[in-house]
Amino acid sequence: MEKIELSIAVLVLIGIIVSSSTMYYTATVISNVSTVSSDVSKLAEAVANLTLTIGNFSTVSLEAIANLQAKLAAMEAALAKMTLAKKTLVVGTTDSVELTLDPAQAYDYFGWCILQQIAGTLISVKPGSATGTDFVPELAVSWNVSEDLTLWDFNLRQGVTFWDGTEFNATHVQYSFDRAIALITKIPEGAPAGLGYGDIINRTEVLSKYKVRFHLNFPFSPFKGILACRASAIVEPTYAPIAQVNYTSGDPRASTPVAFVGPYFLSEWKRIAGRDIEIKLDKNPFYWNVTSQYPKTEHIIFRFYSDALTLRLAVEAGDVDMAFRHITPTDVLDLEDNPNFKVWWGTGAFIQYLDFQEKRAPFNDTRVRVAIAAALNRSSVCQTVFLGLASPLYSIIPPGMLGHTEAFKKLGDANYTLTRSLLKQAGYNNSTKKLKFDLWYESSGHYPMSAEQALLYKGAIEAASGGIIEITLKSADWASYKLNRDNEIMDAAIYGWYPDYLDPDDYAFLYWATWLHLNYNNATQLALYDEARATTNLTRRTELYAQIDNIAVEQCSVVPLYVSGAWAVTTPNVDGIYLDITQDMRYWLIYLK
């Protein structure tokens, strides 16, 4: 093609494009003009409305404005007087919110910890409680229970508002529980599913604006414990629809305070790839108990560390004011000697126990199980592995709780005579028939110091047996450990438990728990257990749990080992920490001097 023809072709092309677009443009301009004229008339209307509204406003008296201003000034003056010396507390932890902050789904320690600061329940446990069962009013002010323990009435606190001004009343309670139960099938891993809300609660009834009644399916005296746990947090329906919600950091509902009514609200939640980076809590001005006293610190910042050692280093470097969960026993004893830090000690509720597979030999023989139980030396393990920061446990119900006994002391510690006589009765001896079995422990750090514990137990048992017993130590990481448990592979295994609600009801069943797959059943224990949860008579309950313990000592299906302590490390200017058996940290009581 020649140059001239080429350039003509290009020019023609450009000309076509330009003219067609101009035509299109004028067409749109014409249509726009007609819309503009209708817009103008609408605008005139709007202006007329506006002048009317302005006229209305001017009738609001200047007096009212002056009153409001005076009130505001008074509030500001009061706020200025508040003696919050330092306003921010930085807390370091190795925990992390596992999934979400939806009460229908959260079932991990840290999720519940944050929920405790931002959400409210009907009742709660008194800080510093010795037994975990002295309940104090929170969103409910008083309650009464029917004789047969199936009807529970609560009178609600009046004048509590959510952030959008909605007043808290009985319908919110009904909604929260109905929602939790309705979501059980969709959220099988959530706390309401795990705690059996669907089985326990038949329905929630609104008796009047500030009175709600729970109808239970069976008499259940630990119900107050259930109501005080975070799965019973009250939610605002607008922000917690009945369809499943995932309160994660990308969801604005997670970072707005509207869904809950608690001492703090979640002002920031940074999470990367399923692990928390930072959580900021700010004082909730709509908290029903907000005064100059509570919450004591205006801002709480959580910093997350990957393991206990780096948390300790962060404490020493001054990066955090407080560290809670988890500092190792060695580190905490070191820090106790350091005058720059203060260590707070408290009661623990986490226990570990040894269980036996009774499907096959050797542990289908009760004598063998009792022999092993008698051979254990709990105090040696507590001293050596936990440096004295754990206590030997002689009942599956820990000390400080109703129903605790010292039943397993009957078997003694490192009771060589009993062990050897029982083994002889069972037909084992040193020369022809040795007792060989596997002792399993969890190896990925899910339980503290598992390998060290297992080693000491092996040594103690073999020594007590005088050489008749030969133990092979085996380990698996948490996922495989659970699988082995379900497949009933492990002869003897070390397991752990921490409670959801503080009642012996949440511990005693461990002796025969079906999900431990131990192939152990005892109808007597079960009957005693059911009777204990159906009465509020404390003396009677104590008797019943003691009887359960006695049977447990005879059977040794599950042998309690130790109960851990609890501790927190802070700088010396931090005060107001309550480390009670609930294991909850009430951050709104903590302040910096």
Binding site: V90, I272, S306, T310
Partner: protein, 420 residues
């Protein structure tokens, strides 16, 4: 073969490689003991709970159905357009998009990898060169010893020492995290452009002017390079015109729609510079210093020994003596002549190490609470989070392939004797 066809072949080969890798991981994960379903239940689990969970995670379907779902999800274009990353499934532990999780954890790992690599290579190569120059002297022995010791030291040990010295005793640097909690993370460059409003036609016409302008520049450049204008030149200028037109139209439409343009790399050091915020820059460097120093020092050990060995060989060669005889400066001979020739094996090692670092330095990330990919994948393994692990492994495979491709291309650039 030609560079172009080489690159194309390599890129095309990535796809079956990754597919194979993915299939292997898919199978291996499901063979491993441990069940993501059971791991959702810390305590008791009734059979109906396990059943529900299984259905929720999609594990009740037969194996081939799960595999098909996954593969078809990967090639879903709509998802890529909507989210910006391929559909790697939903995490079985947190139900979030795996692609999103990986891409949010990746910048931290990338930053750590880049700076550690810089420290490791600079330190390692320099020390190696110095050692090779002073062969068998005390300095040589010291440097060799340094190289061995640093490589033998466990990463977490060195990390903890640094944390103790600089974090606890001296209190100069933070012991963990990417940036101090008193400072917001940097958001990068924000460009706010108010485009002339006037609808699509107006911008259409405007972009044609821009297109013409750019094509005019292109024609001028081509004339300078003396390209014949019969067909090739015309085709090029027409193509440029159309591309510029489209690009300009798209850019102006984007600004009209969104108002601002956010350029954020995810690397805190670079983003804080883009944002022109010196405080954030200083804070992010302070937090980055210890982990990259730890990793850098450990890795430099490899480079020290490798450089030293290669340099010793190269320094013996004739051309080095010849260069010295010609009167060239010592540094020119060492770096310009000898090191350049000895560089290829070091380049390989650089590439490999970088690829490894991109998959996340788990020990460093744990010690310094660095929210990167290494920590991510470690946690996912303990949860038996099949989809997350598959996604992460595919990403690692992709990184390694890309890095090795780049290294191979760089070979050709560094050494003209290698004809690709």
């Amino acid at each position: 073969m030609g560079l172009r066809s080489y690159i194309v072949t390599r890129i095309l080969l990535t796809i079956p490689t990754l597919l194979l890798l993915l299939s292997m991981v898919f199978l291996v994960m499901r063979v491993l003991p441990g069940d993501p379903v059971a791991l959702h239940f810390e305590k008791k689990a009734e059979p109906w709970q396990l059943e529900n969970m299984r259905r929720k995670l999609g594990l009740d379907k037969p194996l081939w159905a799960q595999y098909a779902d996954y593969i078809f999800g990967l090639i879903d274009i709509n998802y890529v357009l909507a989210y910006g990353y391929p559909n790697l499934g939903k995490s079985m532990q947190t139900y979030e998009e795996v692609g999103g999780q990986i891409f949010s954890a990746f910048p931290a790992t990338l930053e750590l990898a880049i700076y550690s690599m810089i420290i490791a290579s600079v330190m390692g190569i320099l020390l190696g060169v110095v050692a090779s120059k002073s062969y068998n002297s005390i300095l040589d022995h010291l440097i060799r010893g340094f190289g061995t010791v640093t490589y033998a030291v466990p990463i977490f040990f060195l990390g903890i020492i640094f944390q103790l010295v600089f974090g606890v005793f001296l209190r100069w640097l933070p012991t963990g995290g990417r940036i101090s909690s008193s400072v917001e993370p940097p958001t990068g460059l924000t460009i706010i452009l108010s485009m002339p409003s006037g609808g699509f036609i107006y911008n259409f016409l405007l972009s044609s002017i821009a297109g013409l302008a750019i094509s005019a520049i292109c024609i001028a450049l081509l004339k300078v390079k003396r390209v014949k204008f019969r067909f090739k030149g015309f085709a090029i200028s027409l193509a440029v015109f159309i591309i510029a037109w489209v690009v300009y139209a798209y850019v102006s439409w984007y600004f009209v729609l969104k108002g601002t343009l956010q350029i954020a790399t995810g690397l805190y050091t670079i983003d804080s510079l883009l944002e022109a915020n010196p405080v954030k820059f200083v804070e992010s460097v302070k937090a980055l210093l210890l982990p990259s120093l730890t990793l850098g020092i450990i890795l430099s050990g490899i480079f020290v020994r490798l450089t030293r060995t290669n340099m010793l060989e190269t320094l013996r060669l004739d051309f080095v003596t010849a260069a010295k005889a010609r009167g060239l400066k010592e540094s020119t001979v060492t770096y310009g002549y000898a090191l350049r020739n000895a560089f290829l094996p070091i380049l390989t090692m650089l590439g490999l190490q970088f690829a490894m670092l991109l998959s996340g330095a788990i020990l460093t990330e744990t010690t310094f609470s660095w929210p990167g990919l290494g920590r991510y994948i470690y946690q996912r393994i303990s949860f038996r989070d099949y989809t997350a692990i598959q996604g992460a492994v595919v990403m690692f495979g992709l990184f390694v392939t890309l890095v090795s491709l780049v290294v191979d291309i760089l070979y050709a650039y560094f050494d003209p004797r290698i004809r690709l």
